[in-house]
């Protein structure tokens, strides 16, 4: 059966609109070196590299892992490139974890990144296949109607999205790597920003960021030699469903429910709100917090917005969501899922600095992508399962 897998090194770059000081290779090296330093390892200790990013159109380079191979320290080693839309950062970490859990490798370096300043992500997301047409512009254009449907069926009042936007930006002020740092962020400030895709306002969306995240994953034997405390992988799950068919619930997709059920089963969790200490969940538009609270089983249907409104997900709430500031504060798309996974691991390693949730011992990392149809999740813990 599955062998134990631990996160023994984590590295992130500064997330910002443009990293003009580094190439794509330089950006990845920055994250990788920090992860290797955290793990007390050098490039030669690594058995294989798994890299993930979102569509190649985002930077305009076809299969960029090939030109990056030597910068990634991959010469003479196996190199895999994962691409599962917005969920890719999470999927990439899971593929890397599988290489350890299967016993194929002892130490794997996994990285995810996006350097959005080198192209135009909204344009790249708007181009459709040669046999279809679309009036949707960017991800917000796609997701706004689903948010509207959620508001209607849950009875959520209009201000819930604003609360999430403020909360995550307040959390970001504690995170040295976060892209958006807005001192004095308030409901009034969010509500004064333009409406982009009704009901999504400018400050209820994620930014476009350059950035990379890296992790070193290791077997039990390799983890014993690590200088810093590991985070143990307690469960992983991936699920996909078709983008559209009659009757699909794109507000609370079955794939998300199934992946959550699978990862909770592996981790022995029956009540996620009580048994998890914090969660890093992919919330690119503020309204996805209440939506995912329900989809991930933290509460019943139409109850998610009440948790948000009551402050349950705040930094000092009973189940802090996105203590790092989340996707709303930093969004290098291909890396965003891996950042969620890495931040969950940082929390249970007790190494999250100013945004450390006191006593966090079990945490959820979550990512989604496509038309809310691809899901990747893991649960990590301080204790070996």
């Amino acid at each position: 059966m599955a062998k134990s897998c631990a996160v023994i090194g984590i590295g992130q770059t500064q997330y910002k609109t443009k990293r003009l000081d580094v190439s794509m290779a330089g950006l990845l090296r920055e994250a990788a070196r920090r992860a290797l330093d955290d793990a007390g390892l050098t490039w030669k200790d690594i058995d294989a590299i798994v890299v993930g990013k979102a569509p190649d159109l985002f930077e305009g380079v076809v299969m960029p892992e090939l030109f990056l191979a030597d910068a990634l320290g991959a010469t003479g080693k196996p190199l895999l490139r994962v691409h599962t839309a917005g969920s890719v950062g999470g999927s990439t970490a899971i593929v890397a974890a599988n290489l350890i859990q299967s016993g194929v490798h002892e130490r794997v370096l996994t990285l995810a990144w996006e350097k959005q300043s080198e192209s135009n992500a909204t344009w790249a997301l708007t181009v459709n296949g040669p046999f279809t047409t679309s009036l949707v512009v960017g991800a917000g254009g796609y997701f706004a109607p689903h948010i509207r449907a959620y508001m209607r069926r849950s009875g959520a009042p209009d201000h819930i999205g604003t609360l999430v936007a403020v909360k995550d930006r307040q959390n970001a002020l504690r995170n040295p790597y976060a892209h958006l740092k807005i001192p004095g962020i308030s409901r009034e400030m969010v509500e004064s920003t333009p409406m982009l895709w009704e009901p999504i306002r400018y400050l209820e969306t994620c930014p476009s960021s350059d950035g990379a995240c890296a992790m070193v994953l290791a077997s039990e034997d390799a983890a014993k030699k690590a200088p810093n405390p590991p985070a143990w992988v307690h469960g992983t799950a991936m699920r996909s469903e078709p983008m559209q068919f009659a009757g699909r619930d794109s507000v609370s997709p079955q794939g998300g429910k199934d992946a959550a059920a699978d990862v909770y089963r592996q981790a022995g969790i029956t009540d996620p709100r009580r048994e998890l200490d914090c969660a890093e969940v992919y919330v690119p538009f503020s309204w996805y917090e209440p939506m995912w609270l329900e989809n991930l089983g933290f509460c019943g249907d139409s109850e998610g917005w009440k948790l948000t409104e009551a402050g349950a997900t705040a930094f000092d709430g009973d189940i802090p969501w996105n203590p790092s500031g989340g996707v709303l504060s930093s969004n290098p798309i291909g890396a965003s899922g891996m950042i969620r996974f890495a931040e969950a691991a940082l929390q249970v390693r007790g190494r999250a600095g100013e945004h450390q949730v006191d006593g966090a011992r079990r945490a959820l990392g979550h990512a989604y992508g496509g038309g809310a149809q691809f899901f990747a999740m893991w649960i990590v813990g301080s204790d070996k399962p």
């Binding site: 059966m1 599955a2 190439s23 794509m24 569509p55 190649d56 985002f58 305009g60 380079v61 076809v62 299969m63 960029p64 090939l66 030109f67 990056l68 191979a69 030597d70 991959a74 010469t75 003479g76 080693k77 196996p78 190199l79 895999l80 490139r81 994962v82 691409h83 599962t84 839309a85 999927s91 899971i94 593929v95 599988n98 290489l99 299967s102 194929v104 080198e118 790249a124 181009v127 459709n128 296949g129 040669p130 046999f131 279809t132 799950a237 991936m238 699920r239 996909s240 469903e241 078709p242 983008m243 068919f245 079955q254 794939g255 199934d258 992946a259 496509g370 149809q373 691809f374 899901f375």
Partner: protein, 345 residues
């Protein structure tokens, strides 16, 4: 390692011309066929390989997902690589032991874009791509270097192409190309016959573990070794006349005693470099399917090599075969999968 085998393989009737169908429509028949042949409609894991730039839009794999009937939701992943690497990811998943079957597929509608322009965008975007170098020009440099070292002549390359095309004409799924003729070059020293043809196509493979494999296939093609390695991108830091990554992957995969080898050689000289790197002597039957020189659906061609190598075991004509996939300029990345009809389990 857990015993895992290729138990079924399906591929499209590849086309050298745009047939006016979308990638989704190319993928659907092979998925349908492989489900019918195995009697399976659900798999423990599914993984695909494709490249967005072939359709010039993001998320080529999203619409292909529609062909799977992915409902209820499935455990699924995707590599932006040849489907052979999707097979590797699925093999790793099977090694963990929680699942017994996996569906793997790869596809590429190469005809709808300009492949040479697309593959130029694969090069280092800061220093190399702006020069406008294309993959055939780089392959020609490699061919020249290899010929200088080995003494191989243009006619030797042509012989590889002629043999591949003759074999391809015997393969109902490959393009049926005439014997090479004419003296014109594509990029010297490569003649048009030395360059893989633009091809649209798709392929699927089902992997299964242990007893499940024996239930699903009379003579499973057991994976006795699978490995892949990459080299630096820049041509100037590699010995282009040898494939260090193919040699290493072959060693790790245990490529010895091979009867049939299906090599993903997209240029005639690549077959000769790969034969040397993998230690394949003259007794080995190379590319009896016609290889990529007879049909090269980008992102499926490597997976097809593994499928063709497995087919020789399924039909009992060989007991130890090898499937190979390559990626990147001048064989930068190589995967080797060794298959056997013998199983001790």
């Amino acid at each position: 390692m857990r015993d895992v085998a290729v138990v079924a393989f399906a591929q499209s009737h590849h086309s050298g011309e745009d047939q006016g169908i979308a990638e989704t429509e190319m993928v659907l028949p092979v998925i349908t066929e492989i489900k019918e042949r195995t009697g399976l409609s659900r798999f423990g894991f599914t993984c695909s390989g494709s490249c967005d730039y072939l359709q010039g839009a993001p998320f080529a794999f999203v619409s292909a997902l529609d062909t799977l009937g992915a409902w209820p939701p499935i455990s699924e992943s995707h590599v932006e690589m040849d489907g052979a690497w999707a097979l590797y990811e699925a093999w790793v998943k099977l090694q963990i032991g929680a699942i017994d079957t996996a569906l793997v597929y790869g596809f590429g509608k190469t005809s709808q874009g300009d492949l040479r322009a697309i593959m130029n965008q694969q090069l280092d975007p800061y220093t190399l791509a702006p020069l406008g170098v294309d993959q055939v020009s780089m392959a020609a440099m490699q061919a020249r270097a290899y010929m200088d070292r080995s003494g191989v002549k243009e006619d030797d390359l042509r012989a590889v192409a002629a043999r591949s095309r003759a074999s391809g004409r015997e393969n109902p799924f490959a393009l049926h190309l005439p014997d090479p003729e004419g003296d014109g070059y594509d990029v010297a020293p490569l003649h048009p016959c030395d360059v893989a043809p633009v091809t649209d196509g798709a392929a699927a493979i089902v992997l299964a573990a242990g007893d499940r494999a024996r239930e699903l296939c009379e003579r499973p093609a057991w994976i006795t070794g699978i490995d892949h390695r990459v080299e630096p991108h820049a041509l100037g830091v590699r010995d282009l006349t040898r494939s260090a990554s193919a040699r290493l992957a072959g060693e790790k995969a245990g490529a010895a005693g091979i009867e049939v080898a299906e090599l993903h050689a997209q240029f005639s000289h690549e077959e000769l470099i790969l034969r040397e790197a993998l230690g394949l002597d003259d007794g080995v039957s190379v590319n009896p399917s016609g290889g990529a020189l007879s049909a090269n659906p980008v992102m499926a061609a490597g997976l097809i090599r593994i499928g063709e190598a497995a087919s020789r075991i399924h039909d009992g004509t060989a007991s130890r075969t090898l499937g190979h996939a390559a990626s990147g300029p001048c064989l930068q990345q190589n995967l080797v999968c060794v298959l056997s009809g013998e199983n001790n389990g």
